[in-house]
Amino acid sequence: MVETAIKIDNVSFKYRNADSFALKRVTFEVAEGEFILLAGFSGSGKSTLLKCLNGLIPHFHAGRFGGTVEIFGESTLESDTPQLAKQVGFVFQNPENQISNLTVEREIAFPLENFGVPKNEIISRVDELVALLNMEEIRYRSPYSISGGEQQLTAIAAALALDPKILVLDEVTAHLSPRSAVHILTLLNELNKKHKKTIIIAEHRLDRCLNFADKLAFLEKGQLKVFGDLQAVFQSKEFPTNMLPKIPSLFLKLDKKIGLLGDKTSTIPLTVDELVATLNNR
């Protein structure tokens, strides 16, 4: 049986100075090995929800918290944050906020040092990550004087350092060039498929994530409006048509005009290849 990796039960949160709740009674579960996309307009509560997964909320952000979040069966209220950090690798929306060391290499090694990993293991792990993310050129540089995208890669490498079972990434491709973004997403897909990592990412640009993700959670004004597999979400009335990624959007428009669904196919194509194949088979 597949284990439940994340269990979010009736979670609400209001920031100290806010007038309204940023999260309102959110409930859903993520099984180990699932790849979840978190979508929603700016300000809908995506980052707030993600911060509940590594205990930043409620441990560090002042505010009113209700409900429970469990990581592999343990409530975040009971486990301490270092323990959570080992299980949940986290990349913040703004990579610069995560930087605190003098070189990129130290930045990646930092979580390992914190957990007292032996020196030689640290070195080989850093070697591995630098190669994996093509960071050779910036390895010995200061993380403060590298480009925006390079900082983002550094933050991703640091999040992978402890080989956590769960990866939480907030707008992780925002500063990446389209090709680096594809590289990172492909890498996440591999970690997910080959190494059974549970992955949850917040993204505005859904287009190039669709062939990797199992499910999509859509937040609106702090409420979870739809949660389910991509097919179900894109056919749901709760999901705004304007937010549909390009390929499904185009397909559904075609379907409306000339009826494609239910004819030879009952699934919405998600990628260029799938759409072309569907049209070709008609």
């Binding site: 920031y15 100075n17 806010a18 929603g40 307009f41 700016s42 300000g43 995506k46 980052s47 929306q93 703004n94 610069e96 906020n97 050129e137 910036i138 004087s145 590298i146 480009s147 925006g148 995208g149 390079e150 890669l153 907030d170 707008e171 925002a174 500063h175 990446l176 060039s177 389209p178 090709r179 680096s180 973004a181 594809v182 505005h204 640009r205 287009d207 190039r208 304007n242 937010m243 390009k246 390929i247 185009l250 428009k253 075609l254 005009k257 000339i258 260029v272 290849d273 759409l275 072309v276 049209l279 070709n280 008609r282």
Partner: protein, 279 residues
């Protein structure tokens, strides 16, 4: 007007040039995108516009002023600059004060200031954020406020580093349309971005940086359709073009387009043609 003449720049004498003989010209009221892979030197390039960085060799002229000879304060009244990281820019106690800071500093008349700010607040729909601290906003909200706070000053040239990251499609559309209007009013806008869809939708001219050089400079549609060029510059083509090229593989008469509606119609006619043939 912005003019680069054989500009060379490196951060560290021991390394290669980040900008290696860059020459280009941007006219008044042009809307230009600068693209290129991570670390190629986009931010470095635009920091030369207002003298934040100075060329090791070559000349940068803004409105015929040589930036090396002008104080940064002078450039600030001509160029509005939005940094890649909004945290470098925000500092006021609330969003309203943040928006008022720039125009106050430039001693812009109060009525003009208030009208400009009101217009921005309406366009970007950020009324509900005015009393909030800029540090207690969501990522996208913060980015939007940091851009708005640059647009308050009515400068002749605007330089925006990655303005659309973290923005949802509504915010992007508001921003794109707003910038287009500024162009019509004679403002020059330069945008650094990885967001090929935004560029395709709104920005007519694109400059591609690669290996310290300008690899291409021209009409956006042409530049972003050139797959060899994109490949060499380590970029990828926009999804809609990918789709068109793939459709051409199954029907070589399929016409490519970057306009969603046109692609939609082209697919319809492709399908109806196919249906007739199979009858």
């Amino acid at each position: 007007m912005i003019e680069f003449e054989n500009v060379f720049f490196k951060y560290d004498p021991k390394t290669d040039y980040v900008l290696n003989d860059i020459t280009f010209k941007i006219d008044k009221a042009e809307f230009v995108a600068i693209v290129g892979k991570n670390g190629v030197g986009k931010t470095t390039l635009i920091k030369h516009f207002n003298g934040l960085l100075k060329p090791n060799d070559g000349i940068v002229r803004i409105d015929s002023l040589d930036i090396v000879k002008e104080p940064i304060s002078k450039m600030a009244s001509i160029i509005g600059f939005s940094f890649q990281n909004p945290n470098h820019q925000l500092f006021a106690q609330n969003v309203k004060k943040e928006l008022e800071f720039g125009p106050k500093n430039l001693k812009i008349e109060e009525s003009v200031r208030d009208a400009t700010i009101q217009n921005l607040v309406d366009t970007f729909q950020i009324n509900h954020l005015l009393e909030r601290s800029p540090f207690e906003l969501s990522g996208g909200e913060r980015r939007l406020v940091s851009i708005a706070s640059v647009l308050t000053m009515n400068q002749q040239i605007l330089v925006l580093d990655e303005p659309t990251y973290g923005q949802d499609y509504r915010q992007k559309k508001h921003l794109g349309l707003f910038l287009k209007k500024l162009i019509e009013e004679g403002i020059t806008v330069v945008v650094v971005s990885h967001d090929m869809d935004f560029i395709l939708d709104f920005i007519p001219r694109t400059i591609v940086l690669s290996n310290g050089k300008i690899a291409a400079d021209g009409e956006t549609v042409k530049v972003l359709s050139d797959q060899t060029l994109l490949q060499n510059a380590d970029l990828v083509s926009p999804l809609l073009l990918d789709l068109c090229y793939s459709l051409q593989q199954i029907d070589d008469t399929f016409t490519t387009s970057i306009n969603e509606q046109e692609v939609f119609e082209n697919i319809l006619s492709m399908l109806s043609k196919k249906q007739k043939m199979s009858r």
